[in-house]
């Protein structure tokens, strides 16, 4: 078990002894005391077998789930004391989700999908369209602004999702099996994009069960039975 790291101002995300208990007939500890510190600009992968608690960890870091116990700090904000609606606001501002199944709004164009987080953040329309356009250009889709998701390939959809995750300049990019639905060539391109984003200073947390994918990160957190089993630092 890893030692409990000190929370520093440099942390994008910090978990302190986080527990998450589900009551399904009998109590199950999906997270049984996890402490984790993600420094700003770091690239971390989370690996673990199914049922290890890595999904719950993602949900807690992304403020979709609330810990039964323990503290979560994200972008300098202590999330444990927030109301539901404040958590939604912080989630929109500080967390950028990238999902295995892309999760784009099917009836919105690529541009509107990327602009959506800015809609809820209250960014004025001209400004968010301009920023969405620049983000789509950044991920190489400057010529697909007005395409609907079903008019795009899997790799292109995931690029739109990544652009959307960057919309509000979040403290952390949370990628849950981002290459799980892509062929290997497309996967490589998407992972190369994450590498670039990391190089540009973004903080990335990537959940995967593939060693090859996890090795793009600076370190790998191995999770088992709701605990951090070990943290592996990679040298490149």
């Amino acid at each position: 078990m890893a030692t409990v790291p000190e929370t520093t101002v440099e942390s994008a995300v910090s978990l302190r002894d986080v527990r998450r208990r589900y009551d399904r007939g009998e109590p199950v500890d999906a997270l049984a005391g996890v402490s984790l510190d993600l420094p700003r600009g770091s690239y971390t992968a989370v690996m673990g077998p199914s049922g290890s608690g890595k999904s719950t960890l993602m949900n807690v870091v992304g403020l979709l789930d609330t810990p039964t116990d323990g503290a979560v700090t994200i972008g300098g904000t202590d999330a444990s004391s927030l109301s539901e609606s404040e958590r939604a606001r912080v989630r929109g501002a500080e967390v950028g989700f990238v999902f295995q199944t892309f999760n784009l709004m099917p009836r919105l164009t690529a541009l509107d999908n990327v602009a959506l987080p800015m809609v809820f953040a209250g960014v004025p329309r001209p400004e968010r369209r301009e920023r969405a356009r620049r983000l789509l250009e950044r991920v190489g889709l400057g010529d697909r602004l007005d395409h609907l998701p079903n008019e795009l390939s899997g790799g292109q959809r995931q690029r739109v999702a990544i652009a959307r995750a960057l919309a509000n300049d979040p403290a952390i990019l949370l990628a849950d099996e981002p290459t799980g639905n892509l062929d290997s060539a497309t996967s490589d391109a998407v992972l190369a994009l994450f590498d670039e984003l990391h190089t540009e200073g973004n903080t990335v947390l990537l959940v995967t069960h593939e060693r090859a994918v996890a090795e793009h990160a600076e370190r790998i957190v191995h999770v088992l039975d709701g605990r951090v089993e070990r943290v592996e630092t990679l040298r490149r």
């Binding site: 949900n59 992304g62 979709l64 789930d65 539901e84 609606s85 939604a88 606001r89 989630r91 929109g92 501002a93 989700f97 999902f99 999760n103 784009l104 709004m105 099917p106 009836r107 919105l108 959506l116 987080p117 809609v119 809820f120 953040a121 209250g122 959307r164 919309a167 509000n168």
Partner: protein, 413 residues
């Protein structure tokens, strides 16, 4: 999240399911169509009557006798009691411009050569009655002449449509036949006086002299005199009409032949056209309340339809709700998106219903030959009702959507 954004998202969601959305709003469309059609027709009918009875008719007092237990349209139960002397005496009253007697002449048929059609009665007026403006062609009849004026529906009864100058044979109820010259055709088949009702049937108009033949021995004069069922006492102007009505009733009660001739339990009725309009308005108000009741039922059904389809829509879009929450939507944003969508459905239904109602109402006014009046204030009411129906029916589904757990929603297949 601002309203424009919600409306935009709603419209794209609705466009995604055109047929379903269309069927969903059908209840609202039908309810609103019914009300708008009816208020259009009602308003147009009123405007038509105001046009007919208001303008120059505003100076008229319509007089008839009616058994006290009879209620109904103007002239219901009218008995022939007003003598020629009564007409002359009323004509001399203060502020009275003229008095026009009206009676019906019983017929069996009318013929144009060998072309015979059944017609039960003709309307007889004292004086020439019709102004040149009322006539499509020819002139009004003259008293004492064998002349007739037809409305367009009557002129069209015959194979060769009758024109001014043609000759018509009237078969009277008692079997006699009289030839009359058609001297004029009216420009419309609508009612020419308040006693004719609102139908547009064929009508033949005659001078009382010589065609109206109900005669009694005048109680005052002792000579044979015609007796009429109804009179129009026309005041010098609309301002005098109230006083003329009072004096008419006083005369009828105290000095008239009619007071002698009238049966017991029959009273005189003198009604201004304004009073008539009030009666029509009362009837219309009652009908409007009834149609509104029917429409409310339709709107309730419509609201249930919208609520149902919104519940389906929320379930179908569970994953989208998860996405919205993942990118920072608060519960009230999600609530707003779905409420807006329900409200938009309601407004679209109301708008379509309003247009359809106006179209049906317009067709109705053309058919019955009434002026078309657009009930603007009801258009506003319809849209407000549409929003209300949408919001009320969308509340529960939207609340369901808002409290969806984003983790489950993102996993939803």
């Amino acid at each position: 999240m601002d309203l424009g954004e919600s409306v935009g998202m709603s419209l794209s969601a609705i466009r995604g399911h055109k047929l379903r959305s269309g069927l969903t709003v059908l209840g609202v469309v039908i309810g609103i169509t019914a009300v708008i059609t009816f208020v259009t027709l009602g308003g147009s009918l009123q405007a038509g009557l105001v046009g007919d009875l208001g303008g120059e008719g505003a100076s008229n007092v319509n007089v008839w006798s009616s058994p006290t237990e009879v209620s109904g349209p103007p002239g219901a139960g009218a008995q022939p009691v007003f003598t020629d002397r009564d007409v002359r005496e009323l004509d001399r009253q203060q502020d009275v411009r003229q008095v026009v007697a009206r009676g019906t002449v019983r017929l069996s048929t009318v013929s144009d050569g060998n072309d015979t059609v059944a017609l039960q009665q003709a309307t007889a007026y004292g004086r020439s009655y019709f102004a040149p403006d009322d006539l499509r062609e020819g002139r009004s009849f003259r008293q004492g002449a064998d002349e007739a004026v037809l409305n367009p529906a009557a002129a069209a009864l015959f194979e060769d449509e009758l024109r001014a100058g043609d000759t018509l044979t009237l078969a009277l109820e008692d079997g006699r036949e009289v030839d009359v010259r058609v001297v004029g055709v009216l420009d419309t088949s609508t009612a020419q006086d308040p006693f004719e009702g609102f139908t547009q049937g064929p009508r033949v108009y005659l001078p009382t002299d010589p065609f109206y033949e109900r005669v009694v021995t005048g109680p005052t004069s002792g000579d044979p005199e015609r007796v009429y069922q109804t009179l129009f006492v026309i005041a010098d102007g609309p301002e005098q009409v109230g006083g003329v009505r009072e004096r008419t009733l006083t005369y009828l009660a105290e000095e008239s032949d009619a007071a002698t001739l009238v049966a017991p339990n029959v009273e005189f009725v003198a009604q201004t056209n304004e009073q008539l309009l009030d009666q029509v308005r009362d009837i219309l108000d009652t009908l409007t309340a009834f149609v509104t009741g029917v429409a409310v039922i339709s709107l309730v059904v419509g609201a249930i339809g919208i609520a149902n389809i919104m519940l389906v829509s929320v379930t179908e879009r569970t994953r989208e709700i998860g996405i919205m929450k993942a990118v920072g939507a608060r519960d009230r944003d999600v609530l707003g998106v779905f409420l807006t969508e329900a409200a938009v459905l309601g407004v679209v239904g109301a708008a379509v219903g309003t247009v359809a109602g106006l179209a049906v109402g317009y067709a109705g006014t053309v058919f019955v030959d009434l002026p078309f009046v657009v009930p603007w204030e009801w258009g506003v009411v319809a849209v407000v009702v549409g929003v209300l129906v949408g919001v009320v029916s969308g509340l529960y589904p939207a609340w369901n959507a808002a409290r969806t757990d984003p983790i489950d929603a993102l996993r939803y297949e």
